[in-house]
Symmetry: C2
Subunit: 205 residues, 2 copies
């Protein structure tokens, strides 16, 4: 059974280094597929009627009582309302809520000169394509990103534990605009030890 | 030696349940004193010249490589620039970067009916008193707030470990607007097992 059949929807591309956006109705399920196995997908959700309400990691952690969503957990908005529920996860269950989206400042600090794609720019461009401007850059849900927290509160950047074709399923709890960015980070190994950003895919059903 | 003498500045009040704001110059040190020992102080910083740049927990964690600042750590802005450095801490070293400021939605969910002060409203009112409107509500640095992270990624809300009169010192790394809110949470024991919000104090030197 292929990924498309398993996920019950048209397979759509999140191109390596780029972002995509979709409008999703309450009750629909978005499946995000880690096609090559080691690609982090920065994820955001906004209330489709009012983008000043957005999925908030700092509000979600307090409600989930976890730093990392598990199946059954609901991500909440900055008004503490349910936005997305994690209903299935074949990726190993390691995602991140702690680390900001990459941005041009990050790449400058890492020594990159000139333009570099970033998840922050991908979010802004995706929203602009829907005519949404001026939205905040919320702290993202970093699907498949592996940022372990040590007993001493330390955090470290590690390669994903997900495998090729593994996926997460997220059910929309309100009408949403969702944005997914295949993280273009190629200077530290968050997208795998080879530091090569890859495509990912998704379906909406 | 009294608190005022020890902290080398005029002792100023953060009234229980309320917020205060100050303009602080680069190089100045703000000392926040947990006068009664168990009061959480939600803290924010904004670039004094451009409040769209603000102290960001999600950017700071990635730079500090910790979920919880220690002496010597620098909190960074959403443009990844240094804003505040923790230079001294007599409180036991337990602060929180994970949990959103309380807001009216939080108190509604906890069953409160009618008005309740909140750190989110305190921030907005403090900024408005300086003529700053429309700023984001960044995830705060919750001084003295005790949110342990378990080995399984769980978080829990615990009373502070700080003691009466203990303090933290924060050095401004750029010209800042800082806001401090003595958290009005009285329905869960984040401000001590007795759930009674208290005054705190601060100095600027």
């Amino acid at each position: 059974m292929g990924i498309e059949e398993r996920t019950k929807g048209e397979l759509r591309l999140i191109p390596a280094r780029k972002g995509v956006t979709e409008r999703v109705k309450a009750g629909q399920t978005v499946t995000v597929i880690n096609t090559h196995g080691s690609q982090v997908v920065d994820s955001w959700a906004f209330n489709a009627e009012d983008p000043s309400e957005f999925m908030s990691m700092e509000h979600s952690r307090g409600a989930m009582l976890r730093v990392n969503p598990r199946v059954g957990d609901t991500l909440r908005s900055n008004r503490r309302r349910p936005m997305l529920t994690l209903t299935e996860d074949t990726s190993g269950g390691i995602h991140d809520t702690l680390i900001a989206a990459c941005d041009r400042y990050r790449y400058e600090q890492l020594g990159h000169v000139g333009h570099h794609d970033s998840c922050t720019d991908n979010l802004a461009q995706a929203l602009a394509s829907l005519g949404v401007t001026g939205a905040e850059t919320p702290s993202p849900l970093n699907l498949f990103m592996n940022i372990p927290v040590g007993a001493d509160g330390s955090v470290s950047f590690q390669p994903p534990v997900s495998t090729p074709g593994s996926h997460v399923r997220l059910r929309a709890e309100m009408d949403l605009i969702v944005v997914f960015s295949a993280c273009p980070q190629d200077l530290v190994p968050v997208n795998g030890a080879d530091c090569i950003p890859q495509d990912a895919h998704y379906t909406i059903a």
